[in-house]
């Protein structure tokens, strides 16, 4: 165990308020807030307003919302917030692929300015020149980061950006008259699940390239076999969830282009390669960046988010509309996009997210962006070096190689030796104020865990995380019950999962709980 006090094993206990469900706080006639009333003159002229509604459309039975005084509502949600472990509290490196980094507070101050929050998307363009300027300038910055020619900020997440890319691919081939012939897209098993599922939403047959079990890289010969004149596009991440950079990426895009396919780059997470390598040089036609990952905007418990979607010139005409443009004098929204797929969201841009990302880039500049990537990679390889020495842990694939920004590790040996699973370890980590993620599909790496340190955490913090993993490994080998019965210092104890998959028991709302479990 390290003796450094800055990396000590933390004697943590999360807040545990034993807080009620909001409905249990109901006291008839209490009020949380008062709504403005219509002025006397208006009431005199109009009356109650409600009786003008056709009788069959007037709600007679009030919604059974609870009635609670203001301070009690505040306290309730403050308590629930204390039972949530945000990145501001822990060393949030245990959710690899998600790039959980520092979300600068100044960017929150900026985003909460009424000049940003109290503007409407249909205002006259002359009154929102500031907002449009920021959107346009972020476009310019991301063109530099990617080498591509134009960015759209309409997609409200990475998955939505994949959907938008698949839609553009489809439209492109419809215009070319090849959409019936090109009914397949190809992705890789270690790309994000949405590269598969969002493309499938558009009716594509999705083919998957599996990895080579030694290198961990997508199998080139399998890709070659699957590419054909039926291929509309490839959707690929690089580095994939394994953190291994695919050196054959240019060859892959060339092969895809040779059969006439479009190359789509999932750069949801580009944190290790800013200013190092780009979509253009690798031969991609489209890419997207998650502003809530690489570009530091807060994750908000799962959104709001933005998938900033970039394209090369030949695909400009297919972008969602409107785009934001500049004519040398003023910024404007351009709806005149010849083959636009239309919209992927009701309103044109995810402005509050765009604004924060703009501020983040301005605080770093070109050099700072590159420094971000380099330190993220340094941190990751530092962890890799330490974690693979922990008893029971391993880093499958690419033995002896360095990784880019993250690594998918395995507790397979720990599990074989002790019976302790990744899930057990994740729950035990909660006892020390940490979050460790069990990873999403695919479940190829056995007992997986994925760690991505980003640039945001100090060496001492990384050491603390490592020390805790070491400690838990030691527990697994000596006192496995302690790990298997975790968490002990968290808000709640082992949850009964039988309620989640049984239609007779599942309760997705409080009213359903009361109905199914016979509670008055």
């Amino acid at each position: 165990m390290e003796s450094n006090v800055k990396s000590k094993l933390r004697k943590f206990h999360q807040a545990k308020w034993d807080e009620q469900i909001i409905f249990e706080l109901d006291t008839p006639d209490e009020r949380g807030i008062v709504v403005p009333k219509a002025e006397k003159h208006i009431v005199n002229k109009i009356g109650d307003g409600v009786s003008k509604i056709p009788a069959n459309m007037i709600r007679r039975k009030s919604p059974a919302l609870p009635e609670i005084g203001q301070m009690r509502v505040l306290k309730h949600y403050l308590r629930l917030s204390q039972q949530t472990l945000g990145a501001d509290f822990n060393v949030d490196i245990g959710q690899g692929t998600c790039t959980i980094k520092y979300n600068p507070k100044i960017n929150e101050v900026i985003a909460n300015n009424p000049k940003a929050s109290a503007i409407h998307p249909d205002q006259d363009e002359s009154t929102v020149q500031g907002a449009l300027e920021i959107v346009y300038k972020l476009d310019l910055f991301l063109r530099e980061v990617s080498g591509l020619d134009k960015f759209s900020f309409q997609s409200p997440s990475g998955s939505a950006a994949i959907l938008a890319m698949a839609s553009m691919v489809q439209k492109y081939f419809e215009v070319k008259g090849e959409s019936e012939q090109r009914d397949e897209v190809i992705t890789t098993i270690f790309s994000h699940p949405s590269d598969y599922s969002a493309a499938a939403v558009k009716g594509y047959k999705v083919k998957m390239v599996y990895h080579n079990p030694n290198t961990g890289l997508p199998d080139l010969s399998s890709l070659k076999e699957q590419l054909s004149e039926r291929t509309a596009a490839i959707f690929i991440t690089n580095p994939e969830d394994t953190g291994i950079f695919n050196p054959h990426i240019k060859e892959i895009t060339e092969l895809a282009h040779k059969v006439g396919a479009i190359c789509c780059y999932d750069q949801a997470n580009a944190n290790g390669i800013l200013g190092i390598t780009r979509a253009r040089e690798a031969g991609f036609d489209m890419c997207f960046f998650n502003l809530h990952k690489t570009f530091s905007t807060p994750h908000g418990c799962g959104g709001p988010a933005t998938g900033a979607l970039g394209v090369v010139k030949k695909l400009y005409d297919y972008l969602p509309k409107p785009t934001v443009e500049f004519n040398g004098k003023r910024y404007y929204m351009n709806n005149n996009i010849k083959h636009s797929i239309g919209r992927v969201r009701s309103f044109p841009t995810m402005f509050p997210v765009v604004l924060r990302a703009y501020a983040w880039i301005m605080s770093l500049g070109a050099d700072g962006l590159k420094e971000t990537a380099e330190i993220a990679v340094l941190n990751n390889n530092y962890l890799l070096n330490k974690i693979r020495k922990i008893k029971g842990a391993s880093a499958p694939y690419a033995k002896g190689k360095h990784r880019i920004e993250q690594v998918r590790y395995s507790w397979e040996k720990l599990h074989k030796d002790t019976g302790v699973t990744t899930e057990d370890v994740t729950l035990r980590m909660a006892d020390f104020g940490f979050h460790l993620w069990s990873s999403h599909h695919p479940f190829i790496v056995k007992q997986p865990f994925t760690i991505e340190p980003t640039e945001a955490y100090s060496k001492d913090e990384l050491d603390e995380y490592i020390n805790t993993l070491k400690h838990i490994s030691k527990e697994a080998y000596t006192t496995p019950e302690v790990v298997k019965t975790a968490p002990h210092n968290s808000v709640v104890h082992k949850i009964d999962h039988s309620w989640y998959d049984d239609p007779k028991k599942w309760a997705i709302t409080w009213r359903l709980y009361k109905k199914k479990h016979k509670v008055k």
Binding site: Q14, I22, V35, P36, G47, P54, M57, I58, R59, P63, L65, I68, Q70, L74, Y77, Q82, T84, L85, G86, A87, F89, N103, E108, K115, I119, Q123, V145, S159, P193, V201, G203, P247, G275, T277, E281, H299, G300, C301, I341, S346, P352, V354, M362, S363, L364, G365, E371, T372, E374, Y382, H402, H435, W437, H441, S458, V492, I495, Y500, I508, L512
Partner: protein, 466 residues
């Protein structure tokens, strides 16, 4: 970063040369560049990115960004009647207090243990929305109304195994674009007409278009154009007879006074929570809800997270988790997951929960009432101005209504420019979205429109149209 002039950014602690060196030593390399060994030389970026130099102090950064933002004019500094799915509602202080909390703001996807609060709050969001909508199931929010409507159509397709969806011609054209793109090419969309006098759905046209390929009908109530559809039950009967689903989009702020769609037969109800305690943010703040009965055949078609309540190993303790996660979601299974799931709008779901908990049934009634009173007041006064007809349809409206300027001889564009000079943003110009209406604008009135603001609009319009 030049090697001889280290620059330690406040966001990047391990830039400190001594620390960096120690870490490189531990890894066993001399430079960070060696860690990029897998990137071929021809893919390495040789030039520096053309991005401005860093604004190194926080003060400079704030000054710079605020300088740009100050070029904006806001709906606080002016009187705005713009709506159409994004409206200036009052945001209770506690809504922002909670969504600014570091814990909620910076959490992502922790387990139901260390993120118990996130799970409980979103479960409560589902539960509070369920009361407002009078349904048993509501999802963790998706991106926005457009997405919620699109996914509802695709759910109907999977539930009924039919490929056509009928859509009301008076829904928001922006949402229609989202639905069209999302359903293309695997669903056929057919538009259903409305009566040009009452604005209501044309049941004759609906009957003509219902057939065995129809998965469902999507319409909005109150509609995008503000009028209240009164034929819900009849529409539902027609659809049920054909085993097609009724999908209704609605603005939840209306549901303290208006009957929720489930009460007149909706199988799926959807909409946006922007009106429930959220700012406008240039249209960048939204969250889409979908609600339904607790029917296994429907539940298994939701792509979204659905948080459920459960027990733990300790008596009296609540636990939370994902209902039907492994088979249903793309996180659990990419090949057979329904559509896709991922980061969407959770923070706004949390905020809407706070809003509904504060408002209670009385607050929701009162806000519905005041919106009705104020919009009726404005409409009746505008109607007295020569040349203006409002509402355009012979119908009752909620929050929004069409002001018909055709007989004024002036275009909406001109009128709105003149209003802007007086510090008023007139209603949304419909002449591009619905050219068949001619010169019409969609006016939006909320609880934030004091009589003074409404009277100013009335006075200025009289002046402009004189």
């Amino acid at each position: 970063m030049t090697k001889n002039k280290p620059y330690i950014h406040p966001y990047i602690p391990n830039s400190v040369p001594a620390v960096k060196k120690q870490m490189l030593n531990e890894i066993g390399v001399k430079t960070i560049d060696e860690l990029y060994e897998d990137i071929p030389g021809n893919l390495r970026l040789k030039k520096k990115m053309n991005i401005p130099s860093a604004l190194t102090s926080e003060y400079e950064l704030k000054n710079h960004v605020e300088g740009i933002l100050n070029k904006n004019q806001t709906c606080n500094e002016n009187i705005s009647f713009l709506g159409g799915g994004c409206a200036p509602h009052y945001v209770p202080a506690i809504c922002d207090e909670i969504n600014h909390r570091s814990e909620f703001l910076t959490a992502y996807a922790g387990e139901p243990y260390e993120d118990h609060g996130r799970f409980q709050t979103l479960f409560e969001y589902q539960s509070l929305m369920a009361e407002l909508l009078d349904v048993d199931v509501v999802n963790v929010p998706t991106f926005d109304w457009g997405q919620a409507a699109s996914t509802s159509c695709r759910m109907a397709q999977r539930i009924t195994k039919r490929d056509t969806v009928l859509v009301s011609e008076f829904i928001s054209p922006n949402r229609l674009m989202v639905i069209k793109n999302y359903c293309h090419p695997v669903m056929k969309i057919e538009m259903v007409k409305h009566d040009k006098k009452t604005g209501l759905l044309d049941l004759k046209d609906l009957k003509l278009k219902i057939n065995k390929d129809v998965a469902g009908l999507y319409f909005e109530n109150p509609s995008y154009l503000g009028f209240i559809e009164t034929q819900g039950k009849e529409i539902s009967r027609l659809l049920k007879k054909n085993k097609s689903l009724m999908i209704v989009g609605c603005d939840p702020i209306s549901l303290g006074v208006l009957v929720p769609p489930s009460n007149y037969g909706s199988d799926l109800v959807c909409g946006d929570i922007q009106s429930l305690g959220l700012h406008m943010g240039f249209g960048g703040i939204s969250g889409g809800f979908i609600g339904s009965a607790d029917d296994e055949n429907i539940i298994k078609e939701y792509p979204s997270r659905l948080f459920g309540i459960s027990k733990t190993s300790v008596e009296g303790e609540w636990g939370f988790g994902d209902v039907l996660y492994d088979d249903r979601t793309s996180f659990g299974n990419r090949e057979d997951g329904k559509e896709f799931v991922g980061t969407a709008a959770a923070l706004w779901g949390i905020t809407a929960a706070v809003y509904l908990a504060l408002m209670g049934p009385k607050g929701m009634y009162e806000i519905g009432q005041v919106i009705l009173q104020k919009s009726q007041y404005l409409a009746s006064n505008l109607n007295r101005i020569k040349g203006i007809k409002t509402p355009k349809f012979n119908s009752t409206n909620f929050k929004e209504f069409i002001v018909d300027f055709n007989k004024t001889g002036k275009s909406v564009e001109k009128i709105n420019k003149a209003l802007m000079k007086k510090g008023i943003y007139g209603g949304k110009d419909l002449s591009k979205e619905f050219p068949e209406f001619g010169e019409c604008a969609l006016y939006c009135v909320t609880e934030t429109h004091t009589q003074e603001k409404l009277d100013k609009l009335i006075t200025e319009l009289k002046q402009i149209l004189k």
